[in-house]
């Protein structure tokens, strides 16, 4: 072999990179990263059209997306009427209030259950896991039956006890909405906060104790400051969820005339004379609020990581013995989870009655399964249940497949193209469900392929909506997968596809199952994303229960709720067992928990 002299210039690639123009460099980047480039194109084709169409049509004078002159008509209208400004303010108050209350509840329960010997720890985790199978619409309906204005359980009981002296509780107010939303948020926030208390390095506290600090001082100066970043992160997460929330404002705020952006958008579109322009303008405002919230959330989680002392070292933090206070603490650790379970219990009660009556022993004689027979034999309900399950499975599979490959490209190929992919696939995070629904509707209503009115358009909306979540699960899994495991296969002679099939996918199974399960459960709970995409031809369970409620079929809605919860829980349990991730319930909680890590 002839020897090449030392005068040989650096390779073609390097010299090109040095002298090339911008566009040449981009071309080289794309050629070297075909897979990543293809993914960017695919994801951008999914994400950008809906978002752009909504923003664009908010600046159109008329009701069409692309036609008509550009103008600020809709914004002028929105800010012209006091209801528009009110909606923005209400959204903010609702989101901030529920986040604060939710975090307070979650932090107290997390601290008591993880750091003291307060009872009911298993009960807490049980309700948290169950809540992942319970659509928010069900929870909200349950609350109305529990505490609503007319003949609800709580108000009835209060009246029986105190006569007319006690003012009845009005749930259809901002306060009521904040309370209910906080109970809806509690499980997720608890899962986010609990680990910081559980895995706190006890040495940090011991160090403080040894330096002479009392237990209370240690709590105030060491334990809580260490948990603070994760509580802050939970607060911003709750805030974002609150901004986007539709169910609670729709069921409680609408009769109470407390409007937030999501319900305003709904009423503009779902009415007889839809005003898409105004809805788009409200949507843009909602997105701006969300972008702010997501920005704060991501910044706060970055900081929460800095404090993270989770090292897998298996710390067993000291549990404080509360002594006689134990059972007082027990009231808290029992009642707060009960707030999550309570709505389900009243729905279970209602589902057995011919018509809704607050619980009492005299009603036991009227118990029957008639409602179940009625609901289960209804073709509309069973088809919407089937749709929900199929769509959930479809969305989970598609999203996890696309984001598995994306996560691989992002983690293994660190360059401008993969960073672009990360950004674009995370973008849907700032598009609230209601806005996504409107955006997909507006983009595809005149699409050459007639997918509007079919299940396909819902599947598409789900895939876009859950891309960021799937990516987070896969990203976390991929980061913990040592690069050499793939390289060993590569040197061993495996092709890229073989590496994926034999090494990456089997080793990513925990992340794939956890992420897939999360997306499956979330899409079945999902109401706001499907709002404008369902119709007479295709429906999903969350919406069909919403419709039953709106038409006053409370017992049907309650019965449907019970069916949905049982079916979904059963499926989740089976998937979980079969996937081999099983074991204790804590495993499932931590699997679901992963999502919260950014």
């Amino acid at each position: 072999m002839s020897t090449v002299g030392s005068e040989v210039s650096p390779g073609a690639g390097a010299s090109l990179a040095r002298t090339a123009t911008r566009s040449q460099r981009l071309l080289l980047l794309m050629r070297r990263n075909m897979l990543t480039t293809a993914l960017v194109v695919l994801v951008a084709a999914l994400v950008f059209p809906p978002v752009i169409s909504v923003v664009y049509s908010s600046f159109s004078a008329g009701q069409m997306v692309w036609q008509g002159p550009r103008s600020l008509t809709h914004y002028r209208l929105v800010f012209g009427e006091s209801s528009g400004v009110d909606a923005v303010w209400n959204t903010f108050v609702f989101a901030a209030g529920s986040a604060l209350l939710g975090v307070a509840m979650a932090a107290v329960v997390a601290m008591l259950s993880e750091r003291t010997n307060a009872p009911f720890r298993r009960f807490i985790y049980f309700t948290v896991i169950v809540s992942f199978a319970v659509p928010t619409i069900i929870q909200t309906m349950g609350w109305i039956l529990l505490m609503g204005p007319n003949g609800s359980f709580v108000n009835q009981t209060l009246r029986n006890a105190f006569g007319g002296f006690f003012p009845s509780i009005d749930l259809f107010t901002m306060t009521g909405m904040i309370f209910v939303q906080a109970t809806v948020l509690f499980p997720a926030l608890f899962l986010l906060i609990a680990p910081t208390f559980r895995s706190a390095d006890p040495a940090l506290e011991h160090a403080a104790s040894v330096s002479g600090a009392s237990r209370l001082v240690v709590l105030r100066r060491v334990t809580l400051p260490l948990a603070w970043p994760s509580m802050l992160a939970a607060m911003f997460l709750g805030f974002v969820v609150g901004i986007e929330s539709f169910e609670v404002p729709a069921l409680l705020g609408t009769p109470g005339r407390v409007r937030v952006l999501s319900t305003v958008i709904y009423s503009r579109v779902a009415g007889f004379d839809p005003d898409y322009g105004a809805a788009s303008a409200f949507s843009s405002l909602l997105m701006i609020l969300t972008i702010g919230g997501v920005f704060l959330y991501q910044r706060s989680t970055a900081r929460a990581y800095k404090y993270a002392t989770v090292t897998g070292k298996g710390y067993r933090p000291d549990k404080i013995d509360l002594g006689a206070l134990r059972w007082i603490a027990g009231i808290v650790t029992f009642v707060i989870p009960l707030l999550v379970l309570g709505p389900l219990l009243i729905l279970a009660w209602t589902s057995l009655l011919p018509f809704y009556t607050p619980p009492s022993f005299s009603q036991l004689s009227t118990f029957s399964l008639a409602n179940y027979r009625h609901v289960l034999s209804s073709p509309d309900f069973s088809s919407s249940l089937k749709n929900s399950l199929v769509l959930g499975v479809g969305a989970a599979l598609l999203v996890m497949a696309v984001t598995l490959v994306s996560a691989w490209a992002i983690v293994r190929r660190r360059n401008a193209m993969s960073r672009t992919l990360d950004f674009v696939a995370t973008l849907p995070l700032v598009v609230p469900g209601v806005v996504m629904s409107l955006a997909v509707l507006r983009t595809f209503i005149s699409f050459p392929i007639a997918i509007y009115g079919t299940a396909w358009i819902i599947l598409l909306a789900f895939v876009i909506h859950y891309l960021p979540y799937g990516l987070r699960y896969n990203h976390a899994g991929m980061v913990s997968l040592h690069r050499e495991l793939e390289e060993a296969a590569e040197v061993g002679g495996a092709s890229r596809l073989q590496i994926f099939w034999y090494v990456v996918i089997p080793l990513m199974r925990p992340a794939l199952v956890a992420g897939g399960l999360f997306i499956f459960l979330a899409s079945i709970r999902q109401l706001s994303v499907v709002l404008f995409l369902v119709g007479s031809r295709v429906d999903v369970v969350a919406n069909s229960m919403f419709m039953m409620w709106n038409t006053g079929s409370f017992t049907d809605a309650a019965t449907a709720s019970m069916v949905v919860v049982v079916v979904v829980l059963a499926i989740a349990a089976v998937v979980y067992r079969l996937s081999g991730l099983g074991g204790r319930g804590g495993g499932m909680a931590s699997a679901l928990q992963q999502q919260m890590r950014r």
């Binding site: 090449v4 060993a488 590569e490 040197v491 002679g493 090494v503």
Partner: protein
Amino acid sequence: MLQITQLRKTFAEQRGAGVRALDGVSLSVPKGKLFTILGESGSGKTTMLRSIAGLERPDAGRIEIAGATVFDGATATFMPPNKRGLGMVFQSYAIWPHMTVFENVAFPLKVRRTMKRSAIRAAVAGALETMQMGHLADRSATQLSGGQQQRLALARAIVGNPRLLLLDEPLSNLDAKLRERMRFELKRLQRETGITTIYVTHDQAEALALSDEIALMHNGQILQQGTPAEIYYHPSAEYIADFIGSTNLLAGSVLDTAALGAVARLEIEGVACHGTLNDDVAAGDSIALAVRPESLTIVRAGEGSTAQNTLPGLIRGRVFLGETTEFLVAVGALEVRVRVSGPAPGLDIDDAVAIGLPADASLVFRRDASREASSGAAVEVAR
């Protein structure tokens, strides 16, 4: 078997010019040899190995394996790793935890899709037998000890009769006892199979013990290539003398080089002595005299040293190491390490002594300016 020509690789940094991991490296490895690339972390040795494997794409240069060009910067030739027919053991072992021992070893044969199931079974059994772990075939890979994982990684690397076996610091994750055992094991494996092996390590003792040949890398370049004995006894640069083994580096200056052939007359701490020339030096140059602790002799002052050069000193420290005893001796402003065999009775702290330096074991290096700045004291005693 392996021919590398003018290989270059620069890693882009977040900011600034980038890191030159490979700066025009050329080397050639004959068939059947165990060839070690030795260097500190950041020397470019791992980039070198990964470039041979195809896991890294160099910027320029050429790599040929068994006569076939697998990389050529000039023609933009790049053969992907899975086509190069190599075996590699990774620092982390990269044992696939979802497979059994058998499945791990069978993988390289399975993905080639050229062998029958029965042939694969026989080949895997053979590889496992070579590594003396045939009885573990059905074990899950996660149930293995560190040493067994190491063997498994080796079995997997050799099962396909690779043209080259690449080892990336394979012993660094083992404890000291096991590491010494595995050294012998590796040596035996290489001798029995005759596979040309490229071994990357930062551990000079490992390199000396195992290698047929060593290439010493520093800042992306090969400083010296030779047999372990050559590198140990005839280091070509002060850096190598310091890096390999324990070495006294004594600062001094040249008095005279004329008419003495390969020997120079030097002045160290005011004492005239002789050393063997390694670099070209002239009278008046600052030099470092490199001499191994075990090459030095030590006697009580006045007892008369037989050595050609003697330096007077005071014993400052004494450490009994079992087979040897090591003395720390102050010679003027310098500190010199002397190692003698046995317990060395009669010599103790604060005794005045004479140190004997054999001229043929004392190598003269031109003082390299960067090292001079960093080491005020003239002694750098090694690891």
